[in-house]
Amino acid sequence: MAEPFIQLRNIRKSFGDHVVLDGVDLSIYEGEITAIIGKSGGGKSVLLKHMIGLLKPDSGEILIKGKPLREFTKEEWRRFKRSLSYMFQSNALFDSMTVYENIALPLVERGGLSQAEIDERVMARMKQFELEDVTGKYPSQISGGMQKRVALARALVTDPKMILFDEPTTGLDPLRKNAVLNMIAHYQKAIGFTAVVVSHDIPDIFFISNRVAIIDNKKIPFQGTPIELEQSDSEIVWEFIHGQESLQDQLTGLHSKIEVERTLRQELERIGKFQDVFSVVLITVDSLERIREQMGYIAAQRIFQCLGMSLRDALGAAGYAARFGPDEILALLPHAGAEQAARIIDEIVGQCRKEKIMDPKSYPKVCVDFELKAAIVQVTERMAYQELIERLRKEQKVIAKMQCRPKGDGS
């Protein structure tokens, strides 16, 4: 791979006693979009500010095209800085200047351009970002989304080689959010600048970036292409990509898939060594996909949530349950035989009937028939994990049905 444009080596930074970065290594390559994702307050902005010299690391080294930053002469640093733009999370527009003056400022202060040239370049950017109507207004007089666009226009007006975006989409509505990401991707291709984007927008940000770095616990545990990210089996990575699903799982009160999978594998290992028994249950909604398509997301989520929560209640603290597939829940019942597992399934069905998710009246306009299926495997001897899962999927039986029209209705 080519030499990185910017390379951070073992960067440490703390504010007072509060350590923000502890040994961060990161490479930014020329002409690429690098996304930095991480929890808020995790030091993403601090990391970005190191790249532009707004903050100096306590220790570690920043290399720009292989040359350490501290060996830069004043003139070299100046030239490097002129080729950068930074877009602040808070936009940092000059609030006592008009929109036009804000965008023109970098050009005016840099000198070397005539008023007409400045005018032309500023107006071109304003047009691009649909800001012609607010030329003479002050930042506080325009909406948050517009302010963001003014900040973007100001960052792009100098035709920089590299732009650092500090959460460019925070606080925008979904339409504008995609528009901004799209814009970054589009101009990046057209102009060819290097971009570093700090963002919360998972998964949208992956679609436009060439590289992704995750910052977590003061370090960068992962950096690579979005595809490498998706196929990574690291737990931290999984947590980040499935952030949205995990919210759904939290609503259903289920464990994480990784947790349950790990416990199940452990139990399968142990089963030969100790005389013990446990059961595994797989509950499926047939089909959640159809429910989602025809009755909507919320109905689908409610049904799944009800299953998850009643399962959690029935299991108590002893068992483990997690969303296994899009419409599957896998539960692990230690020290339980098949009969006990069957009782739990009955309980769940009872609970779901009580909460009326199996009642056609809950779905007044559009109603779709669906079935709940379950399979129980009592494990008494060693078997392979994959074999167990396959057996569960094969042995599924219908445990409850929802029919939109009562039987014998005729039609």
Partner: protein, 268 residues
């Protein structure tokens, strides 16, 4: 400084810390002042921004300075008359009013008024720019924030303070004339003749030097307080800006009076 001394040394340690802190702050301010001052003369000159500041600090202060000058002169005329008449030398009123205005009251009161009007807003404006990351934004655009924000303000203050002081002096003298001559009936020829006799160029230039020194001190302190709003340990955000503004006003007022004393003792 983490090692806190205990027992009898705690007292000395406290003073030591205070003194070191103060020394550090003064040093930082001195560097800030020199840096800001030298940046005035870097190419390309920021004529437009300096003119804007001259307008803001100077032109907009004309009315208030005239008003204060007028009443200061008038009250000087009254007080001076009642004191001088006891010695039968009310003819010296013109000299008394002019000398106290030109040598002392003009520069000091003008400085205090500008601190209240423009110094506070300098600190607040720069402070808000600091906390809303606008200063960082300038930095990332390779615009030197010291040059962009501080230098024009120092330059404009140095231009404006002597001019406003002169205005203050003239209007004050007219104020003295109003009470002394028009109201209390001193001969106007005597009022101006005594003034002409007693005021020498050293008096005028002394006042001029003072106003130059005040300009520099006030602009530096107010800009410094705003510029380093974010470094204040006791307040962040809007509260930090309000504290910065307060200390800008208080510190510059105190400094003006201290500098006044020091300069007066050298100039006399």
């Amino acid at each position: 400084m983490k090692d806190r001394a205990v027992g009898p040394f705690a007292f000395f340690a406290w003073w030591g810390r205070l003194f070191l802190g103060l020394l550090g702050e003064l040093g930082a301010m001195a560097i800030f002042a020199m840096h800001g001052f030298l940046l005035i003369f870097t190419y390309p000159f920021q004529f437009k921004k300096i003119i804007q500041q001259v307008y803001f600090i100077g032109v907009k202060s004309v009315l208030i300075i005239s008003l204060i000058g007028l009443f200061t002169g008038m009250v000087l005329g009254l007080q001076g008359y009642y004191t001088l008449v006891k010695f039968g030398s009310e003819g010296l009123l013109g000299a008394a009013v002019a000398l106290s205005l030109i040598r002392e009251l003009g520069p000091v009161l003008t400085a205090l008024m500008i601190i209240g009007r423009a110094g506070s807003s300098m600190a607040a404006e720069i402070g808000i720019m600091r906390i809303s990351e606008q200063i960082d934004a300038l930095d990332t655009m390779d615009i030197n924030p010291m040059r962009f924000l501080v230098a024009p303000r120092i330059a404009a203050s140095i231009i404006v303070f002597p001019l406003l002081t002169a205005l203050f002096d003239v209007i004050g003298i007219i104020g003295g004339y109003l009470t002394g001559v028009v109201q209390l009936g001193i001969n106007s020829g005597i009022y101006f003749n005594r003034m002409y006799d007693s005021v020498v160029l050293e008096d005028v230039s002394g006042g001029f030097y003072k106003s130059l020194a005040f300009a520099f001190v006030v602009a530096v302190i107010c800009c410094y307080q705003g510029y380093f709003t974010h470094m204040r340990p006791e307040g962040f955000g809007a509260r930090g800006v309000s504290l910065a503004t307060t200390s800008a006003v208080v510190l510059s007022c105190v400094s003006v009076l201290i500098v006044d004393y020091v300069l007066t003792s050298f100039l006399l």
